[in-house]
Symmetry: C2
Subunit: 168 residues, 2 copies
DNA sequence: ACGGCTCTGCTATAGTGTAACGTCCTGCCG
DNA sequence: CGGCAGGACGTTACACTATAGCAGAGCCGT
């Protein structure tokens, strides 16, 4: 696992036991929803589980397909509404440059985040770099700009994929 | 006018003579295309002019509608191909969080950029803040991440719209 | 039980973007 | 001059992303 705060913060190693990532994320989600008095319904929980099924950003229609596997296929509003709830609770983030969604490892507190997006394996790693926040806030202030939301999405290659050619 | 380098870099004042913004942008585009030996065809030039018709980010299908005004309506690939060319030449940037496009005031050289996006008037201002670039590059390096493209889109309120309530 | 609320299902449609193929134009070379 | 290669544009069709609006089901406090 990673903390996004250690010496080498980002990206999971290839062999990590991912099932525990999912379980941890769901447990954290249960906690924050209970604390906030909001309902993590079975549908929402299932969508969150699917988002966490990898460390890649997941497309809404892929979630839709995964939901509809067994039963009659789910419809778009179903998954979009679940995602809307999960985003409102900070349980998932939307990656605008991919039209896709990724689980948040730290849903317990509001935070601005930055995302490292690997063009090789597709894995997304969330940073919470105070230095970037500070530089952004300073620049906004210099322009008398009242900042409300920062979208910072950094594309490139994770350490494991660094050797491959740049296939954007 | 603004330079994005002065004391208060960003955002145009309300009363500026915008026609000269358009003309300047087209003149710069003519220059860089001639220098690079690429063809700024009438269609591409017209699309660029439409992108520059305001300082807001323009949606592809709005361009499409504007193009089709008089004659038979243009089709999506027409405008997307023109935009693809203009982006390849650095003449416009895509704002991923808006699915929209904005003219680049400095197409003559490659640069990473940050965008201030006002939720009030919709105007977009391009920054080229070395301090943000540096913070981002440092964080990427800390994660052994080979950075190739930075998407930094900052939403908030420009100075003139700062007084209004936050209507995202 | 009742009324109000939230959550979910469903239909339909809006909005965004691309694949694939054909034609024409332009610049180049023999 | 004639032919050719590549780029630019037109057109059709389609894929993907997202939301509006309404109906029914379940939960919850009174």
């Amino acid at each position: 696992m990673n903390t996004t705060r250690g010496d080498k913060p980002a990206f999971h190693d290839g062999g990590h036991e991912h099932q525990s990532c999912i379980e941890d994320a769901l447990a954290r989600a249960d906690d924050v929803c209970r604390e906030r008095g909001v309902r993590l319904t079975p549908l929402r929980r299932r969508v969150l589980e699917l988002v966490w099924s990898s460390h890649r950003a997941v497309k809404a229609y892929d979630l839709l397909a995964a939901l509809g596997d067994a039963v009659g296929a789910a419809k778009p509003p179903t998954v979009y509404r679940a995602l809307e709830f999960l985003m409102a609770q900070g349980l998932v983030h939307r990656i605008d440059s991919l039209n896709a969604f990724v689980g948040c490892p730290q849903p317990d507190h509001r935070h601005s985040a930055q995302f490292l997006i690997c063009g090789g394996c597709g894995d997304v790693s969330e940073l919470n770099a105070a230095s970037i926040d500070r530089a952004v806030a300073d620049q906004a202030a210099d322009s008398d700009f009242a900042l409300s939301r920062s979208i910072i999405e950094l594309h490139g290659r994770c350490p494991r994929c660094a050797t491959l050619p740049p296939t954007p």
